[in-house]
Point group: C2
């Protein structure tokens, strides 16, 4: 029993804890922040393992990744289907934006210039209603 037919490797205590934590929020969070949170609640997990688990999850399409201007990666458990992200730059609260429209536009633009096999990186950063109400610029 407890068969692993999901392409994610073994069900270890640590991975279950990371995935459980990712289920709890709509915010994008960094590997280091997730690690801190797990340690804070008494889960003895190594930072390396958190990075490894997030790598596996993102390779499997189970989590989405965005990169801040600083270079750090943020991870989030998202809904199915391609989409972009509207992320609050203060609290990282995120709304999913359906993707097809922009993707079509990108493919058309690329073809017009002779480029093929186009990929896009599009993220939107803003200040969410709550953070704006609290006066955060």
């Amino acid at each position: 029993m407890a068969e692993e037919a999901h392409g994610l490797g073994r069900h270890t205590r640590q991975r279950l804890q990371v995935t459980a934590l990712l289920e709890e929020t709509d915010e994008f969070r960094s590997a280091q922040r997730l690690h801190e949170m797990l340690r804070a609640r008494g889960v003895p997990v190594g930072l390396t393992t958190v990075y490894r688990t997030l790598q596996i999850l993102s390779d499997a399409g189970e989590v989405d990744v965005i990169r801040l201007p600083s270079g750090e990666h943020l991870y989030r458990r998202c809904g199915a289907g391609r989409h972009h992200h509207l992320v609050c730059r203060h609290c990282a609260r995120t709304v999913e934006i359906p993707g097809p429209g922009v993707e079509q536009w990108a493919r058309r633009i690329a073809r017009q210039h002779g480029y093929v096999d186009v990929a896009q990186t599009l993220e939107l950063f803003g200040t969410c209603a709550d953070c704006a109400a609290q006066g955060r610029t």
Copy 2:
């Protein structure tokens, strides 16, 4: 005389060499690559100075910067006005794409979800016609 009214500091040999090199191409290039190229043509410039110069130029809006998935920054002397970039992932040859359409779309989406002060990151990566003809995947 020869006063510097351009907000870029002094016209030193090194800065002139960096800007001159940037004028020579339509490709985005990394600081390290620019440094190598200058040394290769006998210009004795330090890597630190190349980084500093590129920082100054990008702050002044004289060059555009994009970031590769690996995290390294690429720099290019671009035309005036806001635009996005369609970049060949093999040779970094770049076409400028007018920006207003996407920006309008982004602002509208953001407002619909209560987000304000929206900023976007959009780059297109593809394979250019030449590189495709040479069989690069």
